[in-house]
């Protein structure tokens, strides 16, 4: 059972455009939602993360929007650049209980930004 569902599987955006990746979850115990960026042959790198007490978090060109009632969150990449071409993973975890610290990942979105 996929705890975190991610879409789209792949995304092609023109340079300067906005890239949007969506994720949904079911477990209401999740209270930490990070996004990771992964380049081929590398490990995932933490990009930005959000907690359910805020609806939006922005860091540079990257913004997370969080909808607690809908159990959805999304990553927006503004002014997308060719260097942003990578695979993006959303994830979720719980800050307590028996699964403390365990990250549940989506299947990933392969982003291609055309120059």
């Amino acid at each position: 059972q996929q705890q975190v569902k991610q879409s789209p599987q792949s995304l092609i955006v023109q340079k300067g455009g906005i890239s949007i990746i969506n994720c949904a979850y079911e477990n209401t115990a999740f209270d930490y939602f990070p996004w990771y960026q992964q380049f081929p042959g590398k490990g995932p790198a933490l990009l930005i993360a959000i907690r359910p007490d805020v609806s939006e978090k922005k860091e540079g060109r990257f913004t997370i929007s969080f909808n607690k009632s809908a159990k959805q969150f999304s990553l927006h990449i503004m002014d997308s650049q060719p260097g942003d071409s990578a695979t993006y993973f959303c994830a979720a975890s719980s800050g307590g209980g028996s699964t403390l610290g365990r990250l549940y990942f989506g299947r990933g979105t392969q982003l291609t930004v055309w120059p």
Binding site: Y36, G43, P44, L46, G95, L100, G101, L103, R107
Partner: protein, 115 residues
């Protein structure tokens, strides 16, 4: 400040063999989690070590075992290798004292190929 390091980078084994992968956590971190990432998929949680004990485990068979040393470094052992064990094995480190924030940092991974 060194990040998470893993060794070896690549490994080729044959079915039935055993393999040991190694991980050194980021400085100041005391918790190590291992993930398996199959090609084109998101990382899947294997297990987590803290205070030299396995704290939680994902849906992986007993062929997968691990160890954490007093210096917080960790090993992942896989016995009786199967073709399906071919994957990128990722180590992630975190600080349990800030578990509620659950920021996990990944190493570059070990690419295991089973022939």
């Amino acid at each position: 400040d060194a990040g998470v390091t893993q060794s070896p980078t690549h490994l080729i084994k044959t079915r039935g063999q055993q393999v040991t992968l190694r991980c050194s956590p980021k400085s100041g971190h005391d918790t190590v989690s291992w993930y398996q990432q199959a090609l084109g998929q998101g990382p899947q949680f294997i297990f987590q070590y803290y205070e030299e004990e396995e704290r939680q485990r994902g849906n992986f068979p007993d062929r997968f075992s691990g160890h954490q040393f007093p210096n917080y470094s960790s090993e992942l052992n896989v016995n009786a290798l199967l073709l399906g064990d071919s994957a990128l094995y990722l180590c992630a480190s975190s600080f349990m004292g800030q578990a509620i924030y659950n920021e996990q940092f990944f190493g570059p991974g070990t690419r295991l190929t089973v022939l």
